[in-house]
Symmetry: C2
Subunit: 208 residues, 2 copies
Amino acid sequence: MPRPRLSRPARKPPSRYHHGDLAHAMLQEAVRTIQKQGIAALTLRGVGERLGVSRTALYRHFADKQGLLAAVAAEGFRMLRAALVEAWDARGRGREGFEAMGAAYVRFAVAHTGHYRVMFGGVVPPGNEDCEVSVAGGDAFQALVDAIVEQQQRGLIVSDDPLQLARYIWSVVHGISMLALDGLLPTPAEAEALVRYANERLRTGIAQ
Amino acid sequence: MPRPRLSRPARKPPSRYHHGDLAHAMLQEAVRTIQKQGIAALTLRGVGERLGVSRTALYRHFADKQGLLAAVAAEGFRMLRAALVEAWDARGRGREGFEAMGAAYVRFAVAHTGHYRVMFGGVVPPGNEDCEVSVAGGDAFQALVDAIVEQQQRGLIVSDDPLQLARYIWSVVHGISMLALDGLLPTPAEAEALVRYANERLRTGIAQ
DNA sequence: TCCTTATGTTGACAGTGGCAACATTAAGCG
DNA sequence: CGCTTAATGTTGCCACTGTCAACATAAGGA
């Protein structure tokens, strides 16, 4: 029940009826819920309630629950891309920066479980080449491709098809992230150790 | 409504009240549903209906929906393990067999989407070290470790910690599988090409 | 000022997982 | 054979969920 307005509304939350930036708040709350309790526990009613808003307010900002999840995935891919290029740039865009990129990937996955699980949980039905989440995902992948091409031009990496190389490397970091998320790498330290090991073996191969 | 029994029951389905092997049938039906329509579309009522059985019959064979999904995951891990050792054994337990193992992994993931999505979708809450699914998953992983150790003893693979090596290689094949499942590798042929490429780069590394 | 649009709310409905109580069959045992 | 008991399947019921339609409220331009 909406308690009667006691005094005239303050400046910052002027009305309490219109939230101001509900879409963003809902995204945040959805991510927090998934991170703490898993995707299955995400409830539109719960999100609304925790934000002090009605259960269907969401429909003014997202098409439906799928839409909310798609937005989470898209935001996740944008954040991932930012983390990747940041690591790559901050460490000199050389071999060191490239390895930092890998570490940044896994660190993102572990730190932002809520996003990551939605990004790769088969939640968004694949196919739509030009939907927001596909575009964001493609951009993140492209950051890796760009770094590979740059390394190839400096002769630091074999000059195979960059796309294939990128897929291969993406598989490695994504696989490590999944192992960590599924609790198969007990501690975060173990995850970082695996990343370091993977970087070494990635460079030199496993053949004797 | 159960239509009145017109003639005495035939031999094979003697009663129609007791199904005979309902647990197995439900597993099968659940997998089929997930494969065709995704995890979100899996409904206990739907499973029961499609099997000509009541909606709550499932509870005589599984604790709840989670239990059914856990059984799917466990069965998946057992099937995966069988596929891995079969490929490893059939191709001579050498380098060729080892690469066949990788190909078999990806082939399993692509062919059994229904199982694979449950195995790695974050559906089973991690932690329980000794639950059925954890054990089955550990066994599948162990098959890879064993193959690595055997290769190391023949001097075909660098003699690093086998566990770390196994995690690294598992990450590669799991990552490729995920890319394929999420539709990022358009055709199955493209997936196989990536596996072949990964095998080559896995051996020799990416450094120039 | 009034009208339009954006935003939030309430009521209602079908579908879902799950529990308790009941019905039906199979299986052991004299 | 008959009786008892456990296994298996069913129905009634409940709280909860996503979603839509209708309504309420606020913000902004004319």
